[in-house]
Structures are given as C-alpha cells and as structure tokens.
C-alpha cells in the first residue's frame, strides 16, 4: 500500500518540470530531493543503527569536491564524478570508522564532529587542491549521449532519477534482514552478540553506505549550485539533515522521506533574516526533542501501540 503511494508520488515529482517554467520552483525541487536523500542516509546511520554521526557533513563536502575536481581538474565526466564521490567517501568512512566504532558512543559523536571540521579546514587551507576560499566556480552542466542538462529543468531530471534510485536502495536495505539487524544492534547490542552476530561489520557497512550516499548527494548538489567552495561545508546543511530526520522520526523510513520533502520548502517560506530563520531552527530542534523526540512517525506509532496494548490486555 505504502509502496503504491510512493510510486504515484515519485511519478508526480517527475512531472514537475512539465508543470512549471519557474527556475526558482524547480530549484527548490532539486534541493528537496537531494536533501531528502542526505537525510535518509543520516537516518540509516542514526535512526536505524543508533549512531549519531556529524561526519555526514564531511562526506557531503568531500562528495561535492570530489565530483567537481573529477570534472574540472581531472577531465572526467559528471557521472564518474558521482562514482568517485561515493567510492572515496566509503573508503574514508571505513578508515575513520574502524577505530572510532570500537570506542564508545560518546567518543563517536565527538570524533565525527571533529572529522567534519577537519574537512572544512582542508577545504579552506589545502589551496593547491581545492583552490581554498575562492572555490571552484563554473562547474559545467552534465552531459549524457550528447544531451546537455544545461537548464534547471533538465537538471531536475538528474536529481529526480538520483533520488529515486538512492531511496529505492535505502528502502530495500532498511526493510531487509540487514536493516532489521541494524535496528537490533541499536536496541540491544549485547543480545545481538549473544545471538552469534558480530555488530562491527554491520556498523561499518552502515557508516560506509551512508557516507557513500551522502557523498554522491553532495556531488549532485554541487553541480546544481554550479560552484563548490568551503561554504558548501557550512554547518547549516548538517542542521538541515538533522532537523529533517528528527521531525520525521529517526528510524522511520517514510517519516524521514516525507519530512525531507516538506521541510525543504520551509526555508523559502521562512524568508526572514538569516538569523531569525536560524533561531527558529534551533527552537524547532529543542522543542521537538522535548515534545516529540521520536518525530512525527514515532508519535503516530506510539498511538497505534497504545491501541494495540489495550486490545491485547
């Protein structure tokens, strides 16, 4: 049932460029789709596996730079850029994840945060590679079989296809036995070990996959912006992904997807001064954490469970 609705929604989204000529609206559409993918990847490592990772921002940035550099510095295509964005981030995640996942959850959070900061510093300071604060402007539009995705409307198809593919993959993963094992690890790790399952490979795989997907999303987004610079690593993006996951409900696949689409339009609605918008973001974070810590999806679930509990007792 849910899948049918999702299919219809996906098709509806595909139709957007046919319904409007406004670059502005299509731009919001691209942002909505890409941010939703990044949030879904965060949901995999945080909602399903239970590990709060701030490293996503770093992966997003590395992905953006990797695809930009592939095209601009190394003469590759946009498509290869995406592949590199995914592969490099997966490798980095494995290298960083291996020692970090063996420590406790407190250290994990701080290390991932530090990682994101390090990436920001490298983006700013390793000028030979990243061109520093000036960034790399004028990223060329992607080309496939001679067809140039030069307008926002055309680029939207790429964003759409990318999101559908990534979300489909994540859906398959989250509803599989592997997804269920991740949830089990989050809920009761000692029990998982007592049942013959080693948690480490699962955590590493989850971390690496979320890194690869977030990186690829960053790669797509940088070409949407047409420029990559250290501002791409602004903490604002991490906050956005976090708020999407928290409001949707960490651990709920559809909750996060719906939340992602809905909230991406929000910044445009909240077109006050930048500071005011951020204050509202902060307030949302605090209030939701107190009133609805499991997000909208979690709240709905609790209601369903209370009814079930009454029936069974």
């Amino acid at each position: 049932m849910k899948l049918a609705v999702a299919l219809v929604a996906a098709l509806a989204f595909a139709a957007l460029p046919l319904l409007t000529n406004s670059n502005y609206i299509m731009g919001i559409g691209v942002s909505a789709l890409i941010f939703t993918v990044a949030a879904a990847a965060l949901n995999l490592i945080y909602g399903y596996t239970g590990l709060l990772s701030f490293a996503q921002l770093g992966f997003w940035g590395i992905g953006g730079y990797a695809s930009a550099l592939t095209v601009v510095t190394f003469g590759g295509t946009f498509w290869w850029g995406l592949v590199w964005a995914a592969v490099i981030n997966a490798a980095v995640a494995l290298v960083v994840g291996y020692p970090t996942l063996r420590t406790n959850r407190h250290a994990f959070v701080i290390v991932t945060l530090t990682f994101a900061l390090l990436v920001t510093m490298i983006a700013r300071d390793w000028v030979d590679l990243t061109r520093g604060a000036l960034g790399i402007p004028n990223l060329p539009p992607p080309v496939a079989f001679g067809y140039e995705f030069g307008t926002t409307g055309r680029f939207y198809w790429i964003a759409w296809a990318f999101s559908v593919a990534m979300l489909a993959f994540l859906y398959a993963l989250c509803t599989s036995r592997i997804g269920r094992t991740l949830v089990a690890i989050k809920q009761n790790e000692p029990l998982v070990r007592a049942q013959g399952i080693s948690p480490m490979p699962y955590k590493l795989a989850s971390f690496a996959l979320s890194a690869a997907i977030t990186g690829a999303a960053g790669g797509v987004y940088s070409f949407h912006l047409g420029i990559i610079d250290p501002l791409f690593l602004d903490f604002y993006f991490m906050q956005t992904f976090l708020i999407i996951v928290i409001i949707g409900g960490a651990g709920s696949f559809w909750g996060v997807v719906v939340s992602g689409i809905a909230l991406s339009a929000l910044p445009e609605v909240l077109r006050f001064s930048a500071d005011f918008r951020m204050i509202i973001y902060g307030l949302i974070l605090v209030v939701v954490m107190f009133v609805m810590p499991s997000g909208v999806a979690g709240w709905l679930r609790e209601r369903r469970l209370t009814r079930l509990r009454e029936q069974l007792r």
Partner: protein, 265 residues
Amino acid sequence: MSAILEVTDLSKAYAGVHALDGVSFAVEAGSITGLIGPNGSGKSTAIDCISGFQKLDGGKVVLAGTDITGRAAHRIARTGLMRTFQTVRVYERLALSDNLAIAAQQFDAATWVDEFLRTRRYRDAIEASEARARRLVELIGLQRYYEAEVGILSYGQKKLVALAAALMPHPRIVVLDEPVAGVNPSRIREIEEALRQLNEAGETFLIVEHNVEFITNLCHRVVVLEQGRKLAEGTAAEIHTDSRVLEAYLGMTPEMAVAEMESRP
C-alpha cells in the same frame, strides 16, 4: 553420556579479588545442571566468562570437543552455546516474531544475496525458521502475541521470550542466567514446566539461580560455588544434605534441612 560443556580451572580476578578461583565442572548432554551459590560466589562471572562476555585470566572452556576459551561472544554463540541474561534482554521495539527470527538468522545458510534475489535457499530458510518459531511460541504459550511488540509484555513473559529465542538456533546447550529472578510464582511454574518439556525433548541446560526450590525441582546435577571456588557437586538431594553447603548457603544443619524437607507437601 558425554559432556557437552567442560570447564577446567576457571580463574578471574578483579582489583585483587578472586571472583573465580580454579572452578571446574562439566555439563552432561541432555541434562539440566544447576549452578548455585550465595551472592558473590562467582556464578555470574562464570557464566559471563564461559559465554565470552568477560575475559578469563586462566582456565579452559570446551564445548562439544571444541576449545572455545577466550573466543568472542558471538563466535561462542555460533559454536552452539546460547545464553540468556539476568536482567532480561529482548528487542523491546520489535515484534515477537522478529525477536525469534533474529535469533536464528545467523545460523541459516542464506546470505543477503539470497535474500535480495529471493532464492530457494532463502525461502526455505525463512520457512524453517518460522515453523520453529511458531512451535516455540506455542510451548511458551504466547501465540496471541506473535505479531505484537515485545515491549508490551510483562517481565515474566519477556523471560519466556528470551528462553524461546535462545532455543531458536538448535543450540547444543542453553545457559540460563537467573531465569526466574523477579518473576511472580505462577509464572515460575510455567517456566519450570517449559524447561522440563524441552529437556525431555533433548535440550541441555545449565541454570544459574538463587531460587533453591526451582533448582531442586528441575536439576539432575547441581554445582555449588562459594567465594569463587567449587564447594560441592552432586544430585539435588546430595546437595541438600551436604553439610558444607548447608552451612555456607542455607545456614542450616543437616537435621534442620531434613526437617524442612519432610515438612514440605
């Protein structure tokens, strides 16, 4: 009868205290063996060390002929030793059916590739797992909760779930860490009955418990620990009349114990 589990000379110390000091015993296949002792005797430490949740300082653990000493907990589980925990551990926010399925999943031949392609191997594994789960759920009497989230069950019911989960992968031995602690008396009888039936069907159990009546009713053999050492070993009746055990554990003399046993209905 051969020994399924043989532990020799287990030792473990923390901060200068010998939690375990040269403990050796064996569990025969098909038996229910009890491990009792007063607080601080080392029972929980022994279980944790045997199942790989704590590291031994010395000694050997052999499971069905394989030396599992020092192995990681998940590898020990894969070799056929399943355990439960003193404070019950279940996946609270997953369904009962999922709780049981996860317990068996490491032990079937299907990989994620099989799952993705929905191969024969995968479907057979799922069918077998579900059949076993349903049988075990019937045994513990929780059929109506099969699709329900385990979090809504009572503490005693959760202990039954943990027991069923431990049995899912056809283990060689199930080690139960205080299976009836914190459980109300009517539920205790249920658990006792379930264990007896399972044992008659061939399952082997090592039970750590404080509840002496429970142990006496169920166990063929009992090992008594005190302050990290094995104090005595024998049948339930022998233990009940062993003067060293009575003194250390029950605080009674043999005469008092006999009088007590006779006064029971």
